[in-house]
């Protein structure tokens, strides 16, 4: 049995991290709710297993999403993760194949060269050594990028990189030391024995020409083992915890577990899965338009991991969801932020080292800023019976042209409809939810639900994406909820609305709450292609910008908001469109103040091109008087 004292640090680290990963996984599994446990069991032993393995290979090793978004950063992550994986894999095969016997302890593969310095002189052995050298070179090239990124993040194509804590720095140093120490140790051993391939062989013979290679190799083998051991032992306390956690997360997610608004084990798993890669920082408009660089999701998750107070970070966010769309790990960042807004984790920074490794779930204490229920002033809920209910929303009342256009479209459609908040209605509750006051929002939700139920409507149309999202997700209505773009699309499809074609160039801005928030991308675009020449912008669909007027941010001042607005509008109007079209009254209002281009809602565009006087079959109260819309205005 080949053995040397220097392998002990590596062995301790390796067995520690393996046992720890298993223990932590069991704890997380126990913490899941019962339905989630069943989901995970079914997912693990079921069809999604293969999908999870594929995702682990593509995302955790190859880092496909980062590669797509930013090649240099992706290469850095890939060379370290995939390269290391291959090095271990082929190292194990090498030890098994060329070693003195089969089924070796893990350290044999890692320190193969030390125990078999004569290996790799000729034939197939030399080819294999070349391959191992190539893998090491692959990792080292990524490491060079990582070191450069730490000092100048622009090199890997990032504007900002994450800032680190002390413990993170120690772990980072040990990680950085692993591969150079392996390179030097292998080179010195190879130099002493005259083996090795293009990398270790040539560096080895160079070093051996003026250094006592055989004596010097031993301390470097110690360094290699020590840095590996240190890295493994510190791993659970640092951001490198994402390496084991991500595997578990992928299985859980593919089994169908979602965050929702639960602050349980799945949320904790996601918090630990963040590698602080910094993609969210680059995606954030607060960063590239307003110059605020300390509130991005990576910092939120880091704050939660380190038991810091994250209230300020959690509230200073537009909730546009751009980081969600960009996160390479697929962490549900916006739901996690919403949970942090609703309740704060109360706990002390853990001093006890053992407890740091197994942190207790902190108690979530609801933030109370509103006191007792406060909306007792709401009038009695009364609503006439109708087929289609139109809810304009607060913001639409600030942009009366949208309201008028919608009335015109609804009249033309021939549906029996009722304008629910014609004389001003009650807020939908989403702004309160965004401020973390769910209980208070419930009161408004109950009130509006009653109004909707009493009307007996089958379809609820709203003009405001903010209302649309909350109607769909937090109301339990049993009524079909449509945003007005979806409603208009349906009218066109069913031939209830005939439209002319406008010969103008238009650009479309996807509102956050409608696009990334609710997944409505196609309907607005299809309507616009139907009535005008739609331009492409670099910020279409999932990559769309926030207008800056977002109700999600409580802390942002007027100046920063208008900087974001001006920046966004300058990107959208680059192709000189005659009209900038959006489908959110809040976006319209915000943009109109920042640009000379005409800003209009889809409803206005559509109402402007209704082709012929519609036939009022189903509307007995309206009589045709020449000018069809005379009795509306």
């Amino acid at each position: 049995m080949q053995f040397d004292l220097f392998v002990i640090p590596f062995n301790i680290g390796l067995f520690f991290i393996l046992i720890y990963a298993v223990a932590r996984s069991v704890l997380w599994f126990m913490d899941l709710s019962r339905p989630d446990k069943l989901r995970l069991q079914r997912g693990f032993f079921g069809r999604s297993f293969g999908q999870s393995i594929k995702e682990i290979f593509l995302e955790s090793l190859i880092h496909r999403k980062i590669l797509k978004a930013n090649f240099r950063l992706g290469y850095m992550h890939m060379s370290l993760a995939f390269g290391w994986f291959l090095l271990i894999l082929f190292g194990t095969i090498e030890a098994d194949f060329f070693g003195e016997r089969h089924l070796n302890p893990p350290y044999k593969a890692i320190f193969f060269k030390f125990f078999n310095p004569d290996h790799g002189r000729s034939g197939f052995e030399a080819v294999y050594t070349f391959w191992m050298d190539f893998l090491l070179a692959f990792i080292l090239s990524g490491l060079v990028l990582a070191v450069i990124k730490r000092f100048s993040s622009k090199v890997v194509g990032m504007k900002k990189t994450t800032k680190l804590r002390m413990l993170d720095k120690i772990a980072l140093t040990s990680l950085w030391l692993i591969f150079p120490s392996r390179l030097i140790a292998e080179s010195l051993t190879s130099g002493a024995y005259g083996t090795g391939s293009f990398l270790t062989g040539s560096l080895g013979s160079l070093l051996a020409s003026f250094l006592p290679a055989n004596q010097l190799a031993y301390p470097f083998w110690w360094l290699y083992s020590l840095s590996l051991g240190t890295f493994f032992i510190l791993l659970p306390l640092t951001r490198y915890m994402h390496i084991p956690t991500e595997l578990f997360l992928i299985f859980a997610r593919n089994s169908g577990i979602r965050t929702g608004d639960q602050s349980g084990a799945f949320r904790e798993m996601q918090v630990y899965s963040c590698s602080s890669c910094g993609m969210c920082i680059d995606a954030c408009q607060l960063n590239f338009s307003a110059g605020i660089t300390n509130i991005q999701s990576a910092y939120l998750l880091k704050g939660i991991r380190n038991n810091e107070s994250v209230s300020d970070i959690a509230h200073n966010c537009l909730m546009c969801g751009r980081c969600d769309a960009k996160c390479p790990v697929g962490i549900e960042l916006t739901p996690i932020r919403m949970i942090s807004r609703r309740a704060e984790e109360i706990g002390q920074v853990e001093k006890n080292l053992l407890k740091k490794y197994f942190p207790e779930r902190k108690k979530l204490v609801p933030v109370r800023s509103n006191g007792q229920p406060s909306y007792s002033w709401l009038p009695a809920a009364e609503s006439p019976n109708t087929e289609v209910l139109y809810f304009a929303g607060c913001m639409t009342h600030l942009t009366p042209s949208i309201k008028k256009s919608m009335v015109r479209i609804l009249d033309a459609s021939g549906f029996r409809y009722n304008f629910m908040d014609k004389d001003g209605g009650v807020c939908c509750g989403r702004p309160l939810m965004l401020a973390g006051q769910d209980k208070e929002a419930r009161e408004l939700i109950n009130y509006n639900s009653q109004l909707i139920w009493k009307s007996g409507a089958q379809i609820l149309v709203t003009s405001c994406p903010i209302c649309y999202k909350v109607f769909r997700e937090s109301y339990y209505l049993g009524v079909e909820v449509l945003h007005h773009t979806q409603f208009i699309k349906r009218l066109i499809e069913e031939n209830l609305l005939k439209l002319n074609f406008m010969r103008v160039n238009i650009a479309y801005h996807t509102p956050c709450e409608l696009g990334r928030g609710s997944g409505v991308y196609d309907e607005p675009r299809e309507i616009l292609q139907h009535v005008a020449r739609l331009q492409k912008t670099p910020y279409d669909d999932i990559n769309s910008l926030c207008c800056g007027g977002s109700l999600g941010n409580m802390k942002l001042g007027y100046k920063e908001k208008s900087r974001i607005t001006r920046n966004a509008v300058s990107h959208l109007t680059k192709g000189n469109p005659e009209i900038l079209v959006t489908s959110c009254p809040l976006c319209k209002k915000t943009f109109a103040a920042a640009t000379k281009t005409r800003v209009a809602d889809i409803a206005e565009i559509v109402a402007g091109v209704i082709a012929r006087p519609p036939v009022y079959k189903k509307l007995p109260e309206l009589q045709y008087t020449g000018d069809v819309h005379a009795n509306i205005y």
Binding site: S374, W377, H397, L398, V426, C427, L432, K555
Partner: protein, 114 residues
């Protein structure tokens, strides 16, 4: 007493020495834009809540600045945070944050008193 058809009106001076400016200072500190309010009343004109009930953000801002908190305490709970007032404010006051901070301050004041 005989009713002569006229009364002595209540004193209308603002007693800054005795008024409690805790709420105002709490907000000033955390939301500096509160200072730039010119009490034009745009917020009250557009207010969703004000449509249904007697709630005026303009009045509330004035009263908080004077330190006459008692009338504000219950009234401020009526706000639905819908955010229309931010959009119409000509001075760029972050009104939603002002309301939230005021609620927070009342809550803190209550805790301090107990």
């Amino acid at each position: 007493m005989d009713n002569f058809g006229f009364t002595i009106s209540k004193g209308r001076q603002i007693d800054y020495e005795n008024n409690n400016r805790f709420i105002a200072e709490y907000i000033h500190e955390r939301e500096p834009s509160f200072r730039s309010c010119i009490e034009c009343g745009c917020c009250s004109a557009t207010c969703t809540t004000g449509n249904f009930t007697r709630f005026s953000l303009r009045e509330i801002q004035i009263l908080i600045k004077r330190g006459e908190n008692e009338q504000v305490r219950e009234n401020i709970k009526k706000c639905m945070l819908c955010g229309k007032c931010i959009l119409v404010c000509p001075r760029g006051v972050n009104t939603r944050n002002v309301v939230t901070l005021a609620r927070e301050a009342f809550q803190k004041e209550l805790k301090n008193a107990v």
